[in-house]
């Protein structure tokens, strides 16, 4: 099983690099797979990934967490406030604690009182937004370097590693522009360039989640609370406690995601999350409520964001369009084989339109890249939603002793 899984993973990675490499060769735009791009994409992807992971924890225990955005906002604020006074690590801790408070609130409303989970989440978003803006004005306005909408700079920093002995030769190899080899070099070098300890922690949290939720009795019980809490209860699982634990931990993860944002921009700023909580939710659905797929979704968002923001020659968005077309072509061809005719033809048509657009326009507006991740999410949902399987009792209020 593990052998099969790792083979599949290597296969997927091989395909992805090949597609990137084809795109890079046709566009002759080295930025697409450069060390800096990959390193930055990881920075952009991590907070989204943490939000997605937070979603997995809550929803696997049967609680829909629309409040992720609010918990992330609380995390950005906690990190800015505590980081300014006691340093970056205190900021991370405060971000986690603030997120946990949001999670606890959601747990009280949805688990204890059984109110509609989406409404409770929306209320938490409202509450978090109001509270942080309110406190920012009170605490930061007169602080040196602060303002009505932002905290003073966070003191100290979280360690960031660069392994020169790996990065320098690989970056040199990347610049040679050899098909596949150079792109692989850029990707690998990106992992060792400006790698934040927080990113490493994020990766570890993903590994820990896959293990805890899918390989331990604890995880089985937690997931049973999201699949069939009544049956779980009849087997002696303390459903309410598991739901509480899961939702509070979900808040902690979202808070950490928020803290990551503040640490990365060295201050708390109103609106810094910019909907990343919702995007995290999308990556979770995208990833079929599993860590691997969620991480892939977050990396896609992070990668596209990076290319859009470091677009100096105005060519990155064009490259993205070609990359999208190549991916769609591959999926379309694969679907033709598996006899999903209509979807396959749709994909191939879309791909050819994109190829046409690529060759006819000299550059594309950045807004194309801005909306691309959302359109991709919708496309994935539209084609794959029958294959996605959310926890069976996701969103259904549970009350001990009341059958459903």
């Amino acid at each position: 099983m593990t052998y099969l899984k790792s083979r599949r993973f290597i296969g997927a990675a091989f395909t992805a690099i090949t597609m990137l490499s084809i795109t890079r060769t046709i566009t002759s735009n080295g930025d697409l797979t450069s060390t800096v791009t990959i390193a930055q994409a990881l920075v952009f992807a991590s907070p989204i990934a943490l939000a997605g992971l937070a979603g997995i924890w809550a929803e696997r225990a049967g609680v829909i967490n629309i409040g992720l955005e609010g918990m992330m906002i609380l995390g950005t604020f906690g990190a800015g406030w505590a980081g300014w006074q006691w340093g970056a690590w205190a900021g991370v801790l405060a971000g986690i604690v603030f997120g946990a408070i949001g999670g606890l609130l959601l747990a009280v409303a949805t688990v204890t009182y059984g109110v509609d989970q989406i409404i409770a989440g929306t209320a938490i978003n409202l509450l978090a937004l109001g509270t942080t803006k309110f406190l920012a004005i009170l605490l930061f306005t007169n602080a040196p370097g602060g303002g009505q909408a932002q905290s003073p700079p966070i003191k100290g920093e979280i360690p960031v590693f660069t392994l020169e002995s790996i990065v320098t030769p690989l970056t040199a190899l990347h610049e040679k522009g050899i098909f596949f080899v150079s792109d692989l070099a850029g990707l690998v070098a990106g992992l060792f360039y400006n790698m934040s300890l927080l990113t490493i922690i994020t990766v570890l949290l993903f590994i820990m989640t896959s293990y805890l939720l899918w390989k331990t009795a604890f995880g089985l019980r937690l997931r049973s609370a999201g699949e069939n809490p009544w049956a779980a209860d009849s087997l002696g699982v303390k459903v309410v406690q598991y739901k509480y634990a899961a939702v509070v931990f979900s808040g902690m993860l979202a808070g950490l995601g928020g803290a990551y944002l503040s640490i990365a921009s060295t201050i708390y700023r109103n609106g810094n999350t910019a909907g990343r909580g919702y995007i995290g939710l999308a990556t979770m659905i995208f990833g079929d409520w599993r860590p691997g797929g969620t991480a892939a979704g977050a990396l896609m968002f992070g990668y596209i964001d990076t290319l859009r923001l470091i677009d100096t020659g105005n060519q990155n968005v064009k490259g993205l369009i070609l990359l999208g077309a190549i991916i769609l072509l591959a999926i379309g061809a694969w679907m033709l084989r598996s006899a999903k005719r209509n979807a396959a033809i749709g994909f191939l048509l879309l791909a050819s339109v994109m190829v046409g657009a690529y060759f006819s326009a000299t550059s594309f507006p950045p807004e194309v890249a801005q909306v691309a991740p959302y359109i991709t999410t919708l496309l994935v949902l539209a084609t794959a939603s029958q294959n996605l399987r959310p926890p069976a009792a996701d969103g259904i209020p549970y009350r001990k002793g009341e059958d459903h």
């Binding site: 109001g130 509270t131 803006k133 999410t377 084609t383």
Partner: protein, 361 residues
């Protein structure tokens, strides 16, 4: 019996409001502010003619937004996409209206129809995704909101739809006076109550009529209560989902119009984009009933307008957002507690009645 039901349905919001006001008071005490001065200055300013006018204007917007959300709620549909639907609707309406030179009635009718059509079309994507592809409307409307923001920023920043309208603000070109609905200054001599205020009342009445006095409304509510039961009695639930979503989007398309036609006359990059979320809160407070929603909209608008005055007292106006969040969460919890108690007391009275029967037999 009926009075008792009305009584219990009012208890929940009343208790909720009381608890959230108390919590707000605690927050104010914690930051060292004088609660009594603050509440009284909110009241004094909030009841001044100018503030009342601003409040009615904002309430008009909130009312429409909540109606849009509420028609979805009736069908257990969560239209989180009101934001995207209304910003696109407002932009389209602004473009159409600024190019019209027609008599007022015609021009405004066309503007309204444009906004409704665009709002409905945008919601229609989510409806199609739901019924044809099984995609949850919650997630698709959130994605569509982000896409709408991207489309609008593209159209205004990079195409000829946008022009320089003020100090560094790009927006659509100004709507001629014949296309505006500025309203009347009947409360405060200086500020006008938006003309759309009256229209929104008609929308509310139409909503009530549609839901409570037509076959369609009955089917809609029936499907919302039990999709299975409705299906077995011959209602096509997919068709109801699509219709409800389209209607919700059409009403959502109107949300920005009071402000567009009463105030700015142009859709610019500073046009508010978050009026949809507050609609969710107000639809809940008003329990999806148009009259309840109207009261809720006025109340929330009152909080927003009167809190603007608090800066003078050294309290950030965001206290109003905190209060709104608190109110939503406390009110939904108290609805649930009241419901549970009702169920319990019904069970008890049934048990008592049964026990009596057994004794007499």
């Amino acid at each position: 019996m009926n009075f008792r039901r009305i009584g219990t349905s009012l208890i929940a919001p009343a208790v909720g409001l009381f608890i959230s006001l108390a919590a707000t008071a605690l927050i104010l005490i914690a930051i060292g502010a004088n609660v009594i001065t603050i509440f009284s200055s909110m009241w004094t300013y909030g009841t001044s003619p100018r503030a009342m006018t601003l409040m009615l204007n904002l309430a008009t917007v909130y009312f429409l937004s909540a109606l849009a959300v509420s028609i979805g709620f009736k069908m257990n549909l969560f239209n989180i996409g009101v934001n995207g639907q209304y910003i696109l609707g407002s932009l389209a309406a602004a473009v159409v209206a600024s190019n019209l030179q027609l008599p007022k009635v015609l021009s405004i009718t066309l503007t309204i129809l444009t906004a409704m059509l665009v709002g409905a079309a945008w919601a229609g994507i989510a409806a199609w995704l739901k019924v044809a592809r099984g995609v949850s409307e919650v997630i698709s409307t959130i994605m569509l909101n982000f896409i709408a923001i991207g489309i609008i920023s593209y159209l205004i920043v990079r195409t000829s739809i946008g022009t320089e309208t003020g100090v560094n603000i790009r927006g659509t070109k100004l709507i001629p006076e014949s296309g505006m609905l500025r309203g009347n200054a009947f409360i405060d001599p200086e500020t006008k109550v938006y003309g759309f205020f009256i229209i929104s009342i008609f929308v509310g009445i139409a909503y009530w009529f549609l839901l409570n006095r037509t076959r369609f409304g009955f089917d809609l509510r029936a499907t919302g209560k039990s999709a299975t039961a409705a299906r077995t009695s011959g209602v096509q639930s997919t068709r109801m989902i699509v219709t409800a979503m389209l209607l919700s989007g059409a009403i959502a398309g109107l949300v920005g119009l009071p402000y567009l036609l009463g105030q700015t006359g142009s859709y610019n990059l500073q046009f508010p984009t978050e009026w949809g979320f507050i609609g969710i809160a107000i639809a809940l407070l008003g329990r999806n009933n148009p009259l309840g929603i109207a009261v809720g909209a006025i109340f929330v608008a009152f909080l927003d307008v009167s809190s603007g005055q608090l800066v003078l007292e050294g309290v950030p106006r965001e206290i109003s957002t905190i209060m709104q969040g608190l109110i939503v969460i406390v009110v939904v919890i108290s609805y649930e507690v009241v419901r549970r108690n009702q169920v319990k007391s019904e069970q008890r009275s049934v048990a008592r009645a049964l026990a009596k029967q057994e004794v007499s037999a």
